[in-house]
């Protein structure tokens, strides 16, 4: 039983930065902007959060600073793409590479130093739980409430579906896009801070969160841009990673890297399964069989109509 609880807590902890970053990206993409800089931004934020925490001695100040760093990277992306009309994809790609190098260059002085962390908030009977778990759970509810039950959430989704239609209804398209991308970047930055201050403590090369940003981008697609499914996807990936650690003990004969790499192909397989509903044969089957139809329609999702498309007010 203890083993079971420990595994669940492990999954919750490993999943929380993934939840934060993928929800952030979901917000940004629902408003129509792909933030490809996610991976680099998370790494840079992880470094910035750790560095500030080390300097000031306050892990929470560092955590917040990580968020601000993520927002700053997103801010650069959004200004260049929304206002200066450059391609979101190209800028995002370059930013992710730039931020990665910048993180290792600027963070050199802080590498392999012991530093503060966010500690644990215990629940009696369960044990210590990292504060980032609480933060990510609160974030889930906030994002869901905001996206589907507030005026601004409705506007944000509208902007991602059709900026033309939103504009002609008096919505300030660019302002909403900017706010959404900044919020998304802030959450990705918190995810970076969560890694260096809680989940994979400390800074060094390579930091444990390298590659997590790319996984988050995939999780958003896997989750069909819907917050709860995105959350489920994040925990699923975390579960695969945690399972890998346990399986390693069970099968000592297999080389270690197999278990580290296994989550990635399994993720691809899951993506494939989740999108089965788009195949013609499955469509036909669904038309005949109501049970299959229910499953397929639950899994199917399409991207926001205007995702990645620029918007120009004048026509």
């Amino acid at each position: 039983m203890d083993m079971f609880i420990a595994t669940i807590l492990g999954i919750l902890a490993a999943g929380s930065p993934l939840v934060l970053a993928s929800l952030g990206e979901t917000i940004s993409e629902r408003a129509g902007v792909v933030n490809l800089s996610l991976d680099g931004a998370m790494l840079l934020s992880a470094m910035a959060a750790f560095a500030l925490a080390l300097t000031t001695g306050s892990a929470w100040l560092g955590f917040l600073f990580g968020g601000l760093t993520g927002a700053a990277v997103a801010g650069f992306l959004v200004v260049v793409s929304v206002y200066l009309g450059c391609s979101q994809m190209a800028i995002g790609f370059i930013l992710t590479l730039l931020c990665r190098d910048l993180a290792y260059f600027l963070g050199n002085d802080y590498a392999r130093l012991p530093g503060p962390d966010l500690g644990y908030w215990s629940i009696p009977g369960l044990g210590g739980i990292s504060p980032v778990v609480y933060v990510s759970v609160i974030a889930m509810f906030l994002v869901w409430r905001w996206m589907f039950f507030t005026r601004s959430g409705l506007r944000a989704r509208a902007v991602g579906e059709s900026p033309q239609a939103a504009f002609s209804r008096g919505v300030k398209v660019n302002r909403i896009r900017i706010l959404c991308v900044l919020t998304g970047g802030f959450m990705a930055g918190l995810a970076g801070g969560a890694y260096s201050l809680a989940i994979k403590n400390g800074w060094g090369r390579p930091q444990g969160c390298e590659g997590a940003g790319w996984i988050c981008l995939a999780i958003v697609i896997f989750g069909g841009w819907s917050p709860w499914k995105v959350v489920a996807g994040a925990y699923f990936f975390a579960a695969l990673q945690v399972a890998g650690i346990h399986l390693q003990d069970l099968f000592p004969g297999l080389p270690g890297p197999v278990f580290q790499v296994a989550p990635f192909p399994i993720m691809i397989l899951t993506l494939l399964l989740a999108n089965l509903g788009r195949m013609r044969r499955v469509k036909d089957l669904a038309a005949r069989n109501p049970f299959v139809k229910k499953i397929v329609s639950g899994l199917n999702a399409s991207a926001p109509e205007a995702l990645g498309k620029d918007f120009n007010e004048d026509m």
Partner: protein, 489 residues
């Protein structure tokens, strides 16, 4: 609310879309805005609702300048526009579409406002349905209600009768009368349909080449309106004698037995059909009753789930689109720019794709000759997106291969002016004389009666009737379209 437009000008590059438009609009009236394609109707209306920024001129509201408008400000002063293609969010729910740009509010409040408004117009909506599952007509009704919810005093309707059913059209006209007469709002009805304008409007403004060229009040003279729209010699009616009936000798161009085609959300089942060379067949019926799956299926673009399809004697059942094309079937989609052409590719590139053997100077000469023949007054380097609707259709015609056997057209003249329609039908009938068979869908009954040998009537998503066109009256065809098989047919 009085509105005065003063010297409104707008240029797109070298094209002067509006060359100084003056007009004044008073409440309680339905204004018709008539004009051929490219006359500047839509541009002018987009300026009025703040969607397009004019290069010059002024809009006065109750005598005071409204300044620079954007959609938010226009809505705030009470000007709203119903776009030709519904400008809404198909992936979102009905209540969300209603709330956004209306008075706002959450699910409960929006649903309540919607129920109240739709009740008073005898419309009905389920607030939790996805908009994508509604018909174009219903989406338009929802947009109309949203604008009323927002409190507009000036309502602009841009070609609102395109693509909606007869019942929806009547409901829309009733609403327009009520809004102007009973509620003292200004209604502006943009159309190229003369009949509808004459029926509906208290005032008709005619636009031509970016100017208002005439303002008329009842009783209207249709001849005079036509002359103002098109100039002196174009007012003659569309020619109305169908080309020689299809040849009865030789083998059939198309034989369908027990065919089932997959449509959007339904299957068009049990189609038996024979088409002879040179025959022109019109597909009548309310939109979305199976015309599209049949036309697309005959080009191999809608999946054929059962049955047998012989094209010129060759069995093509279930074969891929390129086999259909190779065998002489050619489809001209209604969405010219989206499905028929490549928006950013030039006229030259379109020719090169359609006729890969064209090369060098000979190729250019062929293209230029082709453009002259199809009266396509554009440079070969012009991208398709810059062509007007009529020129896009002429380009599509010019790209049809010489040896085509079965020509399939969705709404061949939708949105085109009379002169373009006449030229297009002239060309299509020429193709028939050369032995091609034509199937086309149209919402315009006159077009069907004028040009067809046979009419296929679709009703409730099946092929309802297959009748000879000679001696068929508009009334009889209308009855068939509403599902009545009367005597004498």
């Amino acid at each position: 609310m009085d509105i005065t437009l003063r010297e409104i000008r707008k240029n797109y590059g070298a094209v002067q879309a509006l060359r100084g438009v003056d007009a004044s609009l008073r409440p309680g009236r339905v204004y018709g805005l008539l004009g051929e394609n490219g006359a500047g109707k839509s541009t002018l209306m987009r300026v009025l609702c703040g969607r397009t920024r004019p290069d010059g001129g002024d809009i006065l509201i109750n005598g005071a300048s409204a300044g620079a408008l954007n959609p938010a400000r226009a809505l705030a002063v009470g000007v709203g526009m119903l776009q030709q293609d519904p400008l809404d969010f198909p992936a979102m729910k009905v209540w969300e579409n209603f709330s956004l740009g209306g008075r706002g509010g959450g699910r409960a409040k929006a649903a309540e406002n919607l129920a109240n408004l739709s009740g008073s117009f005898h419309f009905s909506f389920d607030p939790d349905m996805r908009l994508a599952d509604l018909t174009v007509g219903e989406r338009q009704q929802l947009s109309l209600l949203r604008l009323l919810d927002a409190g507009v005093r000036v309502l602009i309707l841009d070609e609102p009768t395109t693509g909606i059913s007869l019942e929806q059209k009547e409901a829309l006209f009733a609403a327009m009368r009520r809004l102007s007469k009973d509620e003292n709002r200004t209604v502006i009805f943009v159309t190229h349909n003369l009949e509808e304008a004459v029926d509906m409007c208290d005032d008709i403004l005619v636009m031509s080449h970016g100017r208002v060229t005439g303002e008329f009040t009842p009783p209207y003279s249709k001849e005079e309106l036509l002359t103002r729209m098109f100039g002196e010699d174009a007012a003659r009616p569309v020619k109305s004698s169908p080309a020689a009936a299809g040849r009865r000798d030789g083998r059939e161009t198309l034989a369908l037995s027990g065919a089932v085609f997959e449509g959007e959300g339904f299957d068009l089942a049990d189609i038996d059909l024979c088409v002879r060379p040179g025959e022109i067949i019109g597909l009548a019926g309310l939109e979305g009753n199976g015309q599209e799956p049949l036309l697309r299926g005959l080009a191999g673009r809608a999946r054929m789930k059962a049955g047998r399809l012989l094209l010129d004697g060759i069995d093509l059942s279930g074969k891929p689109p390129e086999r259909f094309r190779f065998s002489g079937s050619h489809l001209l989609p209604a969405a010219r720019l989206e499905r028929g052409l490549f928006p950013d590719m030039s006229v030259r590139e379109h020719f090169q794709l359609a006729f890969p053997e064209l090369k060098g100077a000979g190729g250019t000469a062929f293209m230029e000759a082709s453009c002259r023949r199809f009266r396509l007054p554009v440079r070969l380097s012009e991208p398709a997106v810059n062509l007007s609707g009529g020129n896009q259709q002429r380009l599509q015609l010019a790209l049809i291969p010489e040896n085509v056997k079965l020509l399939l057209l969705e709404h061949p003249t939708r949105g085109l002016d009379l002169e373009s329609c006449r030229q297009i039908w002239e060309h299509l009938e020429e193709r028939c004389r050369q032995g091609a068979a034509i199937l086309f869908s149209s919402a315009d009954l006159e077009e069907i009666l004028d040009h067809c040998h046979r009419v296929l009537v679709f009703f409730q998503r099946r092929l309802f009737a297959d009748v000879n066109a000679s001696g068929l009256s508009a009334g009889a065809l209308g009855a068939l379209m509403s599902g009545q098989k009367g005597e004498g047919l």
